[in-house]
């Protein structure tokens, strides 16, 4: 279905609809306890992002922020498959990926609020969430750069023979910038243990990826340019993501080099706090909201015999955790003025002279 320019002033492109069936991966060989932990993660991410949104509306979060609402299955699926010492590299849209590595909610929320108990003491903010001790090696807000940085962590793992893998998440729009190309060729040439995951949510900021990309599948259709397999997964089905993640992580650990995974998904809201997302055709938005990663996953668990009551318990436990995190974040002190001048250098300071 092609929308003429007149319908929405935002270029001309086919709308992409999600799969109809939600049970395609019901039969996947994943044990129930794992699936329940994935469900819990999905809930944590969803409820956390909704709370983050509420706090913007209450003017408690300053600046901007980019939510993963509707895209949680990718972070949850990979998080469930990664080894604790693997490396995550994410973008400004990194809340879910941070939680996926087991970072507690309180410091993440406190960072959004610019508090001293924030994950980076308020100095980084929403777009730069980092927790090295959880393998969360950073959230990067300039498009493209972090793909090359992920290569470096993978190179180091290869050099140290540690068996670690670097997983780098980025968006569809990122596939058109130079650093993407440099990073993919470099990783392939040196057989680095890195997994590149394109979260294709069909839009960059306000422009449809289809309007400014030479090929229909922004990542998968570029794979062969780097001697890689084109891999496309259902980014709204955590089981599909999880199984793919297991196999590409294993491939990297076996020393067989990088992979490029395109996970097709959709964001429920706008690009960032400021954006109502009006440029997206209603039919597209509704279809994807119906094919919601949590709906999909909860439906699956019920078909597999899990009682609603048991899932409600998880939801409630997560809700309580979000409440607690909110209170702790709001109760956080403002950063000490002195902290504005610390940690430019490894000596802890910021002096440029003697």
């Amino acid at each position: 279905m092609r929308l003429p320019l007149s319908d929405h002033g935002y270029g001309q492109h086919d709308i992409v609809l999600p799969p109809k069936a939600q049970d395609r991966h019901d039969g996947a060989d994943i044990d129930l306890s794992k699936r329940l932990s994935v469900y819990r993660k999905l809930q944590e991410m969803r409820q956390f992002e909704k709370r983050a949104y509420d706090l913007f509306m209450r003017q408690l979060v300053k600046g901007t922020s980019h939510l993963s609402l509707g895209m949680e299955a990718i972070a949850a699926g990979f998080g469930a498959a990664m080894r604790p010492d693997d490396y995550t590299f994410a973008t400004y849209r990194g809340h879910a990926h941070t939680l996926a590595r087991g970072v507690p909610m309180t410091p993440v929320l406190a960072e959004l609020l610019g508090r001293a108990n924030g994950l980076m003491g308020g100095k980084g903010g929403s777009m730069h969430l980092t927790s090295v001790k959880h393998g969360m090696m950073g959230s990067y807000a300039i498009i493209g750069a972090h793909l090359t940085i992920a290569n470096g962590a993978a190179w180091s793992a290869q050099y140290r023979r540690s068996g670690q893998v670097a997983v780098c998440f980025f968006g569809d729009g990122t596939t058109n910038i130079g650093a993407f190309h440099e990073a993919l060729n470099y990783a392939s040439v040196f057989g680095l243990p890195v997994v590149f995951v394109c979260e294709n949510n069909l839009y960059m900021e306000y422009t449809a990826i289809a309007d400014i990309t030479a090929v229909p599948r922004p990542a998968a259709d570029r794979a062969t340019a780097y001697r890689l397999e084109p891999i496309v997964v259902d980014g709204n089905d955590a089981d599909d993501v999880y199984l793919t993640a297991l196999s590409v992580l294993e491939r990297a650990r076996r020393g067989e080099g990088p992979s490029l995974v395109e996970a097709v998904t959709y964001r429920h809201g706008g690009h960032s706090r400021a954006d109502p997302g009006k440029y997206r055709p209603d039919a597209e938005v509704e279809a994807w909201k119906a094919y919601d990663p949590i709906t999909v996953y909860r439906g699956r668990l019920r078909r597999l015999g899990v009682a609603d009551a048991d899932l409600d318990v998880i939801d409630k436990e997560v809700a309580d955790a979000v409440e607690l995190a909110t209170e702790e974040a709001i109760a956080g002190e403002l950063p000490s003025p002195a902290s504005a001048l610390t940690d430019v250098w490894s000596d802890g300071g910021s002096s440029w002279r003697n």
């Binding site: 002033g9 600046g63 300039i142 990122t174 900021e205 902290s339």
Partner: protein, 325 residues
């Protein structure tokens, strides 16, 4: 005479020029359908159509390369780099290609192009989306560097930049987009390379740029209350630099202060201080002081960002202390 926001003034300036010259075209990320992520190009797609107002991929090198190649072959492109921080991903096009080609070709190539960008802090966007980088550009021979501080200047300087036959980097301050003030009706064309005295005074010369201009003016009012009559100059253009106005004021007041949003080292005020101490040494009644952001990346937290950016109060106390000692 109507009230206009700084944000809307950008679109007005571009539209004014696109109407009179169909060689003027606009490209950038989300500039067409969305009217720009900062809404500085609203209405241009509707008025001028998709041939002249074009949404691009996320590919800043491709954007500036397209602008340069088009400029050398008969168009007068305006390209947007959404946040000035992103100049770092296409700096090669600016410093090695756009800035040097006319000289290297001994004048064979002319590059009438404008690169507009959202610059500066105070919006809590953190270290990678808040930088003031006019000083990066000032260091490069071959590009003109403009930073308006009022809606009227935005319209007039944008028009002057588009009509200029040399490459102009046009720094819009993100912290001023919402600012509103009177803008004359009809065509406005300002001139590049000119500073503006925003407040006349006898005791000290305060130079400022972009968001620091209103803060310097506010500081001057505090100072007046404390019996110090400061002159505030809106530098507006770093290249060409209006040394006549700046040094003329210093000759009158004998004291020079700069208010710079950039981090300390090699901020734009350093060059002006070095010119002043060379050419006006005997005019100086005391040290030249630069008030800048400390030499650190910008923190994201509002409380910390407010702490590091120069405030009107910091300017006032610094000048007062200096003149008392």
């Amino acid at each position: 005479m109507a009230q206009l926001t700084y944000r809307d003034a950008v679109a007005r300036g571009i539209a004014q020029e696109m109407r009179r010259d169909d060689r003027v075209v606009l490209i950038g990320e989300d500039v067409a359908g969305a009217g720009g992520v900062f809404k500085t190009t609203v209405g241009l797609l509707d008025e001028f159509g998709p041939r002249r107002v074009i949404d691009t991929p996320i590919a800043e090198q491709a954007i500036l390369g397209a602008a340069m190649g088009a400029a050398m072959t008969g168009l007068r492109p305006v390209a947007e780099i959404m946040f000035s921080d992103f100049f770092a991903v296409c700096w090669d096009l600016v410093v090695n290609e756009i800035a040097k080609t006319r000289y290297m070709t001994n004048g064979q190539v002319t590059l009438p192009l404008v690169v507009k960008t959202g610059n500066g802090g105070a919006l809590r966007f953190g270290a990678q989306h808040s930088q003031s980088i006019e000083n990066w550009a000032m260091a490069i021979p071959g590009v003109k560097v403009v930073t308006p501080s009022t809606p009227a200047d935005v319209v007039g300087l944008m028009a002057a930049a588009i009509r200029d036959d040399d490459p102009v980097l046009f720094f819009e301050h993100k912290g001023l987009y919402a600012a509103k003030s009177e803008v004359p009706d009809g065509e406005i064309v300002d001139s590049l390379g000119t500073a503006k005295v925003r407040r006349t005074g006898r005791d000290a010369t305060i130079l400022a740029l972009g968001l620091m201009v209103p803060r310097a003016i506010e500081a001057a009012e505090h100072l007046a209350a404390r019996g110090i009559d400061a002159e505030v100059i809106d530098v507006r253009s770093l290249v060409p630099l209006d040394t006549a106005t700046i040094l003329g004021s210093l000759h009158k007041t004998g004291r020079l202060f700069t208010v710079e949003e950039n981090p300390r080292l090699l901020g734009w005020g350093a060059e002006i201080a070095s010119i002043a101490v060379d050419e006006c040494f005997w005019d100086l009644d005391g040290p030249i002081q630069r008030i800048t952001t400390p030499h650190v990346p910008l923190p994201a937290a509002d409380s910390l960002e407010d702490l590091v950016l120069p405030s009107a109060e910091l300017v006032a106390t610094t000048v007062e202390k200096a003149l008392q000692s």
